[in-house]
Amino acid sequence: MIDYTPLLLTFKLAISTTILLFFLAIPLCYWLAFTRSKTKPFIETLVSMPLVLPPTVLGFYFLLFLSPNTVVGHWLEHVLGIKLLFSFKGLVVTSILYSLPFMVQPIQAGLSSLPKSYLETGMLMGKSKLSILTHILLPNIKPSIITAIVLSFAHTIGEFGVVLMIGGNIPGKTKVASIAIYNEVEALNYANANFYAMVLLIVSFLVLLSVYILNHGYLKKHRS
């Protein structure tokens, strides 16, 4: 009997992470694309860290950082009443940080590739930064936005190490599909493991295929 909850939880996590990450990443991408600040390389390095760090390292430090024994963990749990460790909320927060470079880098590259004169024309017209961003800049980097959204979504679907460290393996709460596969293999239940793995494989293939088709169509339209 296959339990569909891990798959539903995986997609719920991927959708929540992608939506929240998109809105959080946009101001950061704008700043990174147009700032002349000397702190830019430092921030860029921090954002890119999840690309090279083993997920368990990140998970381990999140675990320590969010523990009720730390100032932050204690404040979150006792003052705000938010318990992040071994909860779905905690998975979303850590997934956002873990997938940050997949959202930030394509959008930042897209914004940097636009002529600076678009931004300056908007400024001289007296438009606000928000108006310039939403009316001029973002609509002209659609391929970068689609790439960022799909990569973040696909990357969150495939998370394992961070999710295991922060969420544990609680059925219905934090047991996502990647962990369910591991459990089924451990239990030598290959049929179930194969089902979860096949769903993740097909979904990942389809979302990546959609990026290439959409971007190819966009570029063809705008080059003609």
Partner: protein
């Protein structure tokens, strides 16, 4: 009157470029900034617009102070009521021609919008996207989008550089018509001597970051022998030297001097 007394040093990897500008642009007329490539023309436009900040000095427009380093005053670009047509036009690719123009409009002014669309012959292009337009059409849309903002000052950075001669003459005529109709100040960058003579009412000559002269363009060419510009010698024969001055080939008759002192490829100074 736009009075501009500023200094700015631009640092690049190879060397520093010093801009030292003391100039007065006339109100309600077409001012042209003329000079060779790298003389600092675009930099002056950027400093006037507020997109770049001078290191020192003062910029005033009539009685309004736009920049005063001594008093730490600097109006934001959006507060100067300037429209700027960049070299690349900067038309927003996601918007149609009509949307591009409407987006720039500070207040709904259908009469002005319709007048500009008619004068610049844009009505049949309104629903097209910038990537569907020719170079000349893009320039006309960029002009309409700039003028719909009802600016006090219109900055044009080599607006007709990538356009053929016939179309350039037509666009110059549009510009003159609109300037006379709406009475605003234009500062236009050009390195085309012919263009300066045909359109400018006031010309400012820049050379290596400094203003070497300013005034009526015809007077500058005919009566100011002190002004010199660097040019490359292209060809020498018995009585004529052909030089490349900015983008123009100019024939200079040299019957009274010998040509032994320079040869083809040399950089020489030419008096206007």
């Amino acid at each position: 009157m736009i009075s501009c007394h500023i200094k700015k040093t631009y640092h690049s990897k190879k060397k520093a470029f010093h801009l030292n500008i003391n100039v007065k642009f006339k109100s309600n007329c077409i001012n042209v900034l003329f000079g060779t490539s790298g003389s600092g023309k675009t930099s002056v436009l950027r400093l006037l617009s507020g997109l770049d900040t001078p290191d020192s000095g003062k910029i005033t427009h009539n009685h309004s102070v736009w920049f005063n380093e001594a008093k730490k005053e600097a109006l934001k670009p959006s507060e100067r009521n300037i429209a700027y047509v960049f070299q690349d036009n900067a038309l927003f690719p996601n918007m149609s021609v009509l949307k591009n123009i409407q987006f720039a409009s500070k207040e709904e002014n259908k009469t002005l919008l319709n007048n500009l669309i008619s004068t610049l012959e844009l009505r049949h292009l309104l629903h097209q996207k910038p990537n569907e337009l020719s170079g000349g059409q893009k320039q006309r849309v960029a002009l309409a989008r700039a003028l719909v903002q009802q600016p006090d000052l219109l900055l044009l950075d080599e607006p007709f550089a990538a356009i053929d001669e016939t179309l350039r003459t037509k666009l110059q005529s549009y510009l003159k018509t609109l300037q006379q109709k709406y009475q605003f100040t234009i500062i236009m960058v050009s390195h085309n001597l012919q263009e300066v003579l045909s359109i400018a009412q006031h010309v400012v000559i820049l050379n290596y970051g400094e203003v070497i002269d300013q005034g009526n363009p015809k007077i500058l060419v005919r009566a100011n022998p002190k002004n010199t510009l660097k040019a490359t010698v292209l060809h020498i024969d018995a009585s004529t030297v052909t030089v490349l001055l900015a983008t123009q080939q100019i024939n200079i008759h040299i019957s009274k001097i010998t040509t032994n002192s320079f040869s083809v490829g040399d950089i020489v100074e030419v008096s206007l």
